[in-house]
């Protein structure tokens, strides 16, 4: 089935979360910090989006969760990339690359035109 726009957005978020976890287990706050740092604070994934996404990825088996100790000294849930998640990440990245490759020649000239206007 062809992917719809909402699928693509979700796929992008999944890819971002999976990438954050590809360096090791993180808790929710850790993931959002990682994404913010990596994007020079441009990307702020809201809690209302992040946590549901984590629960979804856990349900479909892309990530696993277990309790661990947070820096506060309280326990927190740490998420870890599963083998299925690694595969999904590869697919999402490729799909995203294809999308960018397809859309860029159309949209990027608009950008320069918008700048000149």
């Amino acid at each position: 089935m062809q992917k719809t726009t909402s699928d693509r957005l979700r796929g992008t978020l999944d890819a971002l979360v999976l990438t954050a976890l590809s360096n090791g287990p993180l808790h929710g706050y850790g993931i959002s910090r990682w994404l913010a740092n990596r994007s020079s604070k441009a990307l702020r994934v809201e809690e209302g989006t992040l946590y549901p996404a984590l629960y979804r990825l856990e349900r479909v088996g892309s990530i696993d969760a277990e309790w661990g100790m947070s820096e506060l000294g309280r326990r927190a849930r740490f998420y870890r990339l599963s083998p299925a998640g690694e595969q999904q990440l590869a697919v999402e990245v490729r799909t995203f690359a294809e999308f960018i490759a397809a859309v860029s020649p159309i949209l990027l000239p608009q950008l320069s035109r918008g700048e000149t206007a």
Binding site: H27, Y29, E47, G48, Y51, P52, L54, R77
Partner: protein, 890 residues
């Protein structure tokens, strides 16, 4: 997801899946918030501000938690359902808006449907209340009535046969015999005549109903040597005993005998629909137990769980034949046992008649649906541009069909709600007008099952009338908008409309043929000679208690005295007493043997006995055909005489003169058996206005057969012809109370009794006629709207044709021909359908066959003519079209 559902789910999860996912999410979000607070404080916020900011960023915590929940459980499904629901809601809003915009269409369609749905729902509630609802017994499916099979008919059991056959049968959990008896209840100021059931065996156990008060009697109390006890019906307890609970244990006098009241049954207890007012034990005497003749017991039983109706019937048939071998004289012609559930017996052929009415009302509903469908089709064409526009902006054709069906469903449900109100009103009228002897009529009402039915048929009807137009518009793509103009009416549309017209005509024809046949039957019955004159006569049944009148001589003397007294009363012109008067109860039959023939079952003529005073024939105006009627000289001890009906005379003696011939009957004693025929009288429809003539014979009251007063329960009907009803009533009271002031006297009009007998047939005919007319009107309106719409659509085309020189006559001819094709087709289909279904009415037709040509021709003519007028009127309007204006509209 609603929050209550969420709560439930959370609860389920915490109970079933161990640690709550909720706590987990909460904990996670807490940690997250703390970490954000720390981060913010590091950026320079003070703690309260950091906390405020962190909570602000988190947003609605509950919403986040719920979103996590949904994700953990499968978000996609919920999402899809949500989309569907959203679309449905959109469709509903849109449908209501559309229907409100087309106000006259909506009103017309809704009224048409509501009438059809209302009538159908009302009739269904009648069927449900009377037929479908189970009878109020513990085990209605095993509660049966037993009859002896006598030739082609069912007959009551004799005590001997009951004791030897039924009471011993092992297939029954409980079995009882009953007989009805009118007793004089001396309670209050005036003695009252109440119908009682005398029962033997485990009568109350058969039905499994507990008393409301006190107790019922069991098998042992119907054995000899017990105190006489009585169980009251609720109605009698209220009316005669004021609903006094202290009535239990009291002794009441019934026909001069004391009975101790031991219980009161609940109001709904009327197991055989006979409306008896109390129950007393029937203690068989040894003589009765030995008596295999005299068949008067109704036997009821509760079959054991593992006994089948058919097997029990077969088994008992063997026993019955054995009894017939042992007692050939008493059991002549009795070869089997009939067994049917009490519900089937009480309802008789009523379910059949009700289902016919339900079918008829269903036809009306179908016609209404066809009308609405054609209205929708017409609307569909005017809405084409709307659909095309919606299709063009991206609505899929499936979506369009769904939306149109939603519109139909909204229309159907609104009409259904209105129909339910109409049904409620119709039902009230039905119950008020219906003849009172329809069983369980007072329990009919609109309840949950009926409303469920209304909902289902409303939705069904919506699909029926909405689907075809919806599919049509679904098929039209945006291209139809571009095409528009001239040929917007496709061939399909015409075919579809023609089909609808044909259907309506066919349905209406089927309905009208049924109504026509019943009307002809009604006319036939109305004109049928009854053989006696009921008009202007008043009747009263008088029963003499055995305790006060033990000797037959005393009974005869009392009745003779009463009749003599009656004839002296002012205003009384004729007065008589007799048993087995027409329309009355208490008739008994005897097998008559013409002199000279050997005693064999095939020679016996089963005839109805009438014990009468000499003035009987004059009072009822039964014509004398030959010989003479009785005089006061025909006394007991003299020559035994009888008067026979024409049918009996023909049956017994053929063409020979019956006067002076002799017939044996009614007595065990051979010396007393022979009766000389002294006269022949006209036939009388004793068993009702629709019954065939049957052999009947009359004997003078003074020569009543030895057992006669037992058979008749010492009861005769007094008949009085006088100047006014009031006078007759006064005369009857006076004459009876002069002889015995303890006897209750209730006077009824003979003519009204006759009307009541015809009432049910008439009511049924009126209902079917009403439905026929309704269907007929709907169909006519339907044809008219279709043709009128057709003409309206063709206005431009007709204008062009007129401009091009076509004559106006030619246009009308063209239009009527086009309309006539479906009309004739419908008539043909309808005639075939009516021929195929009219035999369902056969049991209710009198003097007319189910394929009566006159009815068929008349209905086809009426429907054809009206249909043609419905076509002609709009066609003539087309003639007046102004060609210039018609074309200018293009």
């Amino acid at each position: 997801m609603t929050s209550s559902e969420g709560r439930l789910r959370r609860l389920l999860r915490s109970r079933i899946l161990g640690p709550s996912i909720d706590g987990q999410i909460d904990e996670e979000l807490d940690v997250h918030t703390e970490l954000v607070v720390r981060e913010l404080m590091a950026e320079g916020f003070d703690e309260p501000a950091a906390r405020r900011e962190a909570l602000l960023r988190l947003g609605d915590r509950r919403q986040v938690a719920e979103a996590c929940h949904r994700q953990a459980r499968g978000y996609e499904r919920t999402l899809r359902r949500g989309v569907l629901w959203d679309e449905l809601r959109q469709d509903l809003v849109y449908a209501v808006r559309q229907l409100r915009r087309a106000r006259s269409f909506t009103l017309l369609a809704m009224l048409t449907l509501a009438v059809g749905l209302g009538a159908t729902t009302a009739l269904f509630s009648v069927v449900h209340g009377i037929v479908l609802r189970s009878f109020p017994f513990a085990h209605p499916e095993r509660t049966v009535l037993l009859l002896e099979q006598f030739r082609d008919e069912g007959s009551e059991f004799s005590v001997g046969n009951y004791v030897d056959l039924c009471a011993r049968d092992r297939n029954f959990e409980a079995i009882a015999a009953m007989n009805f008896l009118a007793l004089n209840l001396a309670e209050g100021t005036e003695p009252e005549r109440v119908v009682a059931a005398t029962v033997n065996g485990d009568f109350f156990k058969v039905f499994g109903i507990s008393p409301q008060l006190g107790r019922t009697f069991d098998g042992s109390e119907t054995e000899p040597g017990h105190e006489a006890v009585a169980v009251l019906s609720y109605a009698l307890w209220r009316s005669q005993f004021g609903g006094d609970r202290a009535v239990i244990g009291r002794v009441v006098h019934l026909s001069s005998q004391g009975y101790r009241i031991i219980g009161v049954m609940p109001p709904s207890f009327d197991p055989t629909g006979s409306h008896e007012k109390l129950w007393v034990p029937f203690v068989f005497t040894p003589a009765q137990r030995a008596q295999h003749d005299e068949h008067y017991l109704d036997v009821v039983g509760l079959l054991k769980k593992d006994s089948s109706l058919e097997a029990t019937k077969a088994e008992m048939g063997v026993g019955m034949r054995e009894l017939t071998r042992r007692f050939p004289n008493a059991n002549t012609g009795r070869s089997a046992v009939r067994l049917q559930t009490i519900s089937a017996w009480v309802l008789g052929d009523l379910p059949h008649r009700l289902y016919i009415l339900l079918g008829a009302v269903g036809l009306v509903l179908l016609i209404a649906c066809a009308n609405v469908a054609s209205l929708l089709l017409a609307r569909g064409t005017t809405r084409q541009s709307e659909f095309a526009l919606r299709a063009a902006i991206g609505a899929g054709s499936r979506r369009l069909v769904r939306q149109l069906l939603t519109e139909s469903a909204v229309l159907g449900l609104a009409a259904g709600a209105l129909g339910a109100l109409i049904a409620e009103a119709l039902l009230k009228i039905f119950v008020r007008l219906a003849p009172p002897d329809i069983p369980r009529l007072d329990e009919v009402g609109v309840d949950g099952a009926v409303l469920g039915f209304a909902l289902v048929i409303s939705l069904g009807a919506s699909v029926l009338f909405g689907l075809v137009p919806a599919l049509r518009s679904g098929r039209q793509g945006p291209h139809s908008l571009l095409r528009g103009g001239m040929s917007s009416v496709g061939r399909h549309y015409d075919l579809l409309r023609s089909g609808l017209v044909a259907c309506e005509v066919a349905l209406a024809l089927t309905l009208l043929v049924g109504a026509g046949l019943l009307i002809r039957s009604s006319i036939h019955l109305q004109n049928l000679p009854l053989g006696f004159d009921a008009a202007g006569a008043e009747v009263s049944r008088i029963g003499l208690p055995e305790s006060a009148y033990p000797q037959p001589r005393a009974v005869v003397a009392a009745f003779e005295q009463i009749v003599a007294g009656l004839q002296q009363q002012p205003g009384v012109r004729f007065a008589a007493a007799g048993s087995g008067t027409p329309l009355g109860r208490g008739a008994t039959n005897n097998g008559l043997l013409p002199e000279g023939l050997p005693f064999a079952p095939e020679n016996l003529i089963d005839s109805m006995l009438h014990v009468v005073t000499p003035s009987y024939f004059q009072t009822l105006r039964i014509p004398l055909v030959a010989g003479r009627t009785f005089t006061t000289a025909d006394r007991s001890g003299g020559e035994r005489v009888m008067v026979v009906s024409r049918t009996l005379a023909r049956r017994a003696f053929g063409d020979r003169n019956p006067i002076g011939k002799r017939l044996a009957c009614c007595e065990e004693d051979p010396a007393a058996r022979m009766h000389t025929v002294i006269g022949v009288v006209g036939d009388v429809r004793t068993r009702g206005p629709a019954a065939e003539f049957a052999p009947e014979f009359y004997v003078p009251i003074t020569q009543t057969p030895a057992e006669g007063w037992t058979w008749l329960q010492r009861t005769l009907t007094l008949v009085v012809r006088s100047d006014s009803r009031a006078m007759a009533t006064a005369a009857l009271r006076k004459a009876v109370h002069d002889v015995d002031p303890t006897l209750p006297v209730a006077v009824t009009s003979f003519g009204e009794g006759l009307d009541a007998r015809l009432a049910e047939q008439r009511f049924h005919t009126a209902l079917l006629l009403g439905l026929g007319v309704l269907g007929f009107l709907l169909a006519t309106v339907g044809i008219y709207t279709v043709v009128a719409y057709f003409v309206h659509q063709r206005t431009r085309e007709i204008g062009i044709r007129l401009t091009l020189g076509a004559s106006r006559m030619r246009i009308v001819q063209h239009l009527t021909t086009q309309g006539a094709v479906p009309l004739i087709g419908g008539l043909l289909i309808g005639a075939a359908a009516a021929l195929g279904t009219s035999h369902w009415l056969e049991g209710q037709l009198y003097g007319v066959t189910a394929k009566d040509p006159l009815t068929f021709v008349a209905v086809i003519a009426v429907l054809g003519l009206t249909g043609w007028l419905a076509i002609l009127v709009p066609a003539l309007r087309a003639m007046r079209i102004d060609p210039r204006r018609a074309i200018a509209d293009i």
